[in-house]
């Protein structure tokens, strides 16, 4: 009893953590589901068929491909633009720096429905109502991923000891060599983290995408449509794979840095 009281907060915290994983277990479980009926979403029987034929569901795989394409391109765009902006905000001084900080923060806090609908209003107003699709989705995704990239890279950059660059110059490195041999390697983990974050934000986005997609279907749009018609279990296969991949990357990174720290001892 005393153990419980002493560790109450920790136990509660762990319970909450478990709670966040409950739906994931269901997703993984359902990926092995053999549904009796397409419309009723419940576990009926075990099967490996979903995993053996992940693209059995019509149109699902093409939507995944579209999502991946958009994800990669928007990650590329947002990471490049965002990294440049982060360098500007941390290393340079200019008028309007604080307004820019505010502008970067706003997309992270704005409701998606407002961002999405205002973008739609822009496209329609500019006469692109008929061309909604891949490129409008891409534009929207780069827009809201930008802020997250800037914030991530900025904090990594600000935490960097700038005496290191002075030391590099003292040791005969030109400014260009200093950047590529000292600054960039040290900021890179932040850039990588920002890119991963950006990709997952893009892949998973629904509200903004839905408003600006026209006829194009991304994976979340596919799931939304399927929710009315009957969800194929392969959707859960995709979900499980996404989860596994992200866990591997993220926990792997954590274990890697632990391994490095253990080498210190």
């Amino acid at each position: 009893m005393r153990y419980l009281r002493k560790h109450l907060v920790l136990i509660l915290g762990l319970l909450i953590l478990v709670y966040t994983f409950v739906p994931i277990f269901v997703v993984v479980l359902m990926s092995f589901n053999d549904p009796a009926s397409k419309l009723i979403y419940r576990f009926d029987g075990f099967t490996l068929a979903n995993w053996r034929h992940p693209c059995g569901a019509e149109d699902m795989c093409s939507s995944v491909v579209t999502s991946v394409e958009i994800g990669l391109l928007s990650t590329l765009g947002a990471t490049i633009l965002g990294t440049l902006a982060a360098f500007a905000l941390v290393r340079h001084d200019f008028h309007g720096r604080s307004s820019m900080n505010l502008l970067i923060f706003l997309p992270m806090a704005a409701p998606e429905i407002v961002m999405g609908s205002s973008l739609l209003a822009l496209f329609v107003g500019a006469g692109f109502a008929g061309q909604l699709g891949f490129w409008t989705i891409l534009i929207a995704h780069i827009m809201f991923c930008l802020s997250f990239v800037v914030v991530t890279v900025r904090s990594r950059l600000a935490g960097m000891d700038d005496t290191l660059e002075q030391a590099a110059m003292d040791l005969y490195a030109t400014p260009r060599q200093t950047f590529w041999r000292v600054t960039f390697p040290l900021v890179f983990p932040g850039i990588l983290g920002a890119a991963l974050l950006s990709f997952s934000l893009s892949f998973d986005d629904f509200i903004v995408t839905n408003l600006n997609a026209g006829q194009t279907t991304t994976f979340p749009l596919y799931v939304w449509g399927a929710a009315q018609r009957g969800v194929p279990m392969q959707v859960n296969v995709v979900g499980s794979v996404m989860f596994l991949v992200s866990v591997v990357i993220v926990v792997g990174g954590e274990l890697n840095s632990r391994r490095r720290m253990r080498a210190l001892a």
Partner: protein, 294 residues
């Protein structure tokens, strides 16, 4: 560490320009488009185009149909969204604070791993996760059966298609947005301050309210803002887990845009929603007193 000297000159502008331009064109300008759209003449359409007639009556139309509450139980989509958002944010605050506190103070060497575990589930598509909740909260599922057994729920009660499911879904989906800023704030608190408080005769509860809570306020403020604002506009949870009685304003706006193609009214609703949110946020931030969110 030597204080960093910022460089002056034009390079800063050049580096910033692409991102600033992108955000300006695709974030700032669209707001103007939205406001303009809300003032279009409702007589136009996609095909014909719209005339700008500063038709302020669009706002009255929007509010009349979707803003006016019918009764105490039927608040109408606009007010309902604010209400659900507020409750979900409150629940997130309680759960999130416990979790953030546990990780910051009680996790020891598992701190980083736990943080990572908080975020990990949210890399899976949240639509799929919400569908899972639909299964978990199903009428003949484990949860409902248990609640019925302990009489928390009537014998023919259900969770799906009720506000409970919607708010539960909102709380679940926005939990990380609350936990991360809270953690950042709580983690910075110097443990020695709490030790000093207990040295000065404060029991753990008093020490919490007098020391920990006030020092974590910046995190509380950013966390609640990052949770409340998106939660109000969300409609996935309401659509998947609720019934038409739980319809949220986001769903109305989306439907008016993509199905009814009633752009002026949809725009007006968006602007109204945004204005209400901003007003509530300003009021809240004023009262909480912290301006250093950014």
């Amino acid at each position: 560490m030597a204080e960093m000297v910022r460089r002056r000159g034009r390079t800063g502008y050049l580096l910033l320009l692409p991102a600033a331009l992108w955000l300006f064109v695709f974030f700032v300008v669209p707001f103007y488009s939205l406001v303009a759209t809300s003032l279009f003449d409702p007589g136009g359409s996609d095909a014909k185009g719209y005339d700008m007639t500063y038709h302020v009556a669009n706002y009255w139309t929007a509010l009349k149909h979707y803003g006016k509450p019918e009764s105490w139980t039927n608040l109408g989509p606009l007010l309902r969204s604010l209400w659900y958002g507020a409750i979900a944010t409150g629940l997130c605050l309680v759960l999130g604070y416990v979790l953030a506190y546990a990780i910051a103070f009680k996790a020891g060497r598992w701190k980083n791993l736990m943080l990572v575990l908080v975020i990990a589930p949210f890399f899976t598509s949240f639509l799929i996760r919400t569908l899972s909740w639909k299964l978990i909260l199903a009428d003949d599922g484990f949860v409902v059966n248990t609640l019925q057994a302990v009489h928390l729920l009537g014998s023919d009660g259900r969770l799906l298609a009720t506000p409970v499911a919607v708010v539960a879904g909102l709380t679940y989906n926005f939990l990380p947005f609350m936990v991360l800023p809270l953690f950042a704030s709580i983690d910075k608190i110097d443990h020695r301050l709490i030790e000093a408080a207990s040295d000065l005769y404060a029991n753990p509860i008093r020490a919490f309210f007098k020391v920990t809570w006030p020092l974590s306020l910046p995190g509380v403020v950013s966390g609640t803002l990052l949770t409340f604002i998106p939660a109000v506009g969300d409609y996935i949870n309401a659509s998947l887990l609720g019934s038409p009685n739980q319809r949220m304003i986001g769903s109305v706006i989306q439907q008016q845009f993509t199905e009814a193609h009633n752009y002026p009214v949809a725009g007006a609703l968006s602007v109204v929603m945004m204005t209400l949110i901003v007003a509530m946020v300003l009021f809240y931030v004023r009262r909480a007193g912290t301006e250093e969110l950014l």
